[in-house]
Amino acid sequence: MSLTTAHSVVAPSAGSKRIAGAIIIAYALISIVPLLWIFATSFKTPPDSIAYPPKIVFQPSIEGYCNLFTTRTRQTPEYINSLGPATGFCDETVRKRNMVIAGPSNFLPRFVNSLIIAFGSTFCAVFLGTLSAYGFSRFKVPLADDLLFFILSTRFMPPIAVAIPIYLMYRELGLSDTALGMILLYTAVNVSLAVWLLKGFIDEIPREYEEAAMIDGYTRLQAFWRTVLPQATTGIAATAIFCLIFAWNEYAFAALLTSGTAQTAPPFIPTIIGEGGQDWPAVAAGTTIFLVPILVFTILLRKQLLRGITFGAVRK
């Protein structure tokens, strides 16, 4: 039922809607300024990026992106002049700063690591979370309340508080600096969130759906797959975004446990600063690219996310 008439006591008045709108717009603007600044910086030249007063209007350059994806060595102008014509825009830009491209940087493999670890752990956390949430929601699990409390209790302290034991364990188990280790770790952190969020969603789905399917000749697993999952997609999508955001942005464990082959983008990006002066445009370029997957994922799932976080407040 929709109550959208002017006489409704629950619908906000036009005045309060305007005030709410103004607050939201102001907040959105404040929130987006740092992002815009990063985005702008990624297209500045290094001198422009540290200019004072800061430049709002500038000549855009993709030098930051060139520097992000390459490693460079400083050479004498004589040596650079002895080289053949520049092979591309990046080559040309770099040569102007008396440098030559030595090879690709580690950014791309680190970025791929981030993708594998974040999406892998999100998948595992949501998969395990959905199954356990369904179990807790539908079956009489002995000590269910205590178990759920125990699951939640893993969030009582910041995960980093157990960094040292995990570091030692991982070293013994050979999981240090492996993608598998990071996936396991992020799954473990996220699964409690996933169980709790999804249990709420699944509790809201009437049991009659599975019961009807089971009477109609399906096994419980088939009934779960065909009737519960399709109705839980909203919850699953919302949960997946929360898990992904955590795994994608996680810095402390990544910095501690990964250093080489399995290093993710968050600990890698700051290391760019050290390579050949304070290369802010390259850092900003790394950050900008780093933001893209989560942005795309969130936009794709925004409808579910919105319905997900208002779930329970609005009922059909």
Partner: protein, 370 residues
Amino acid sequence: MAEIRVQHLRKAFGDFVAVQDSNFVVEDGEFFVMLGPSGCGKTTTLRMIAGLELPTGGEILLGGEDVTMLRARERDIAFVFQLFALYPHMNVRKNIGFPLLAQGMPSAEIRSRVEETAKLLRIDHLLNKSVSGLAGGDRQRVALGRAIVRRPKCFLMDEPLGTLDTEFRDLMVHELRELHNRIHATTVYVTHDQMEAMSMADKIAVMNHGVIEQFGTPREIYDRPATMFVADFIGSPPMNFLRFGGGLAKGAKEIVVQGAKVAVPEVREDIAPADMALGIRPEHIRFDDASKLRGAIYGTEYLGTTQIVAVETADGIIKARVPAEIRLNAGDHVGLALNSARLSLFDKGSGRAVRTAVHDTASQGRAQHG
């Protein structure tokens, strides 16, 4: 289609006994209604027949086969839920065809069976619609369609009209019974609404506190209630009770209520002295100034063709259903004449009906105690 036989069925949830030793037989093609207040165990019984709950004891036989411990999907039954449980992510056609898909039926055959079913229920024009946009009655029809499409051994329905508006309800009661007359499917129907039960059922079981108080045809249940609970639960307004004391001897034809002699159907058993109650339906009371059973008019409820008159007697309020034409004023003293042929006698302690001449023709109107 098949007969359903329930023997010594029992279900306990921890200390709470939901169903105590239920026994009944639903014959092949019968429309059977389990009626009772909420929490009486009727839905639990239905869910045990369906295989959604496993009994603590007893047996359930479906067409002669013991299905007591079988999984729901192995029983070949169909269930219509109170909230219909239509899958919101499927359209009407897919909802109805869903049980057939489980059997691995070829899609062409599913298609023709679904269309045939939809025609039977007059919802063939809705097949490609989403179920979320349907009106209550149509949702109900889709839920029924999903049940009958499979041609199961029996249909189980859990208050399927509970969420419908009153006008839709009357329509669906009619439609359900008509559908039953056409396909003659063994049906177990659970409701707390006596009007639904009386108008649709071939047989009714009235349940209370996990016990079947009475099992019989609607007529038997109304005319010869086996217990005071049944007498009170069925009928609107319910049966009146007048206290009287003393024992009853076999062959007695008269009792004394509030100092007035009342003729009763011949008693068929000896009853030791105890608190007794005489039960009389409102429509079996007349006003007769000659009667020694007297009271004062307390209030009237005008219903058009009849009126319900509340009369205050020495033993509380008695309600009589009398023709609407009779003019009555509050405070008037009236005599009450009871239709002796339609009286029931109860032992107040156990609530059980005393066997009298009215039971002579009844073969299965007995209560099924323990």
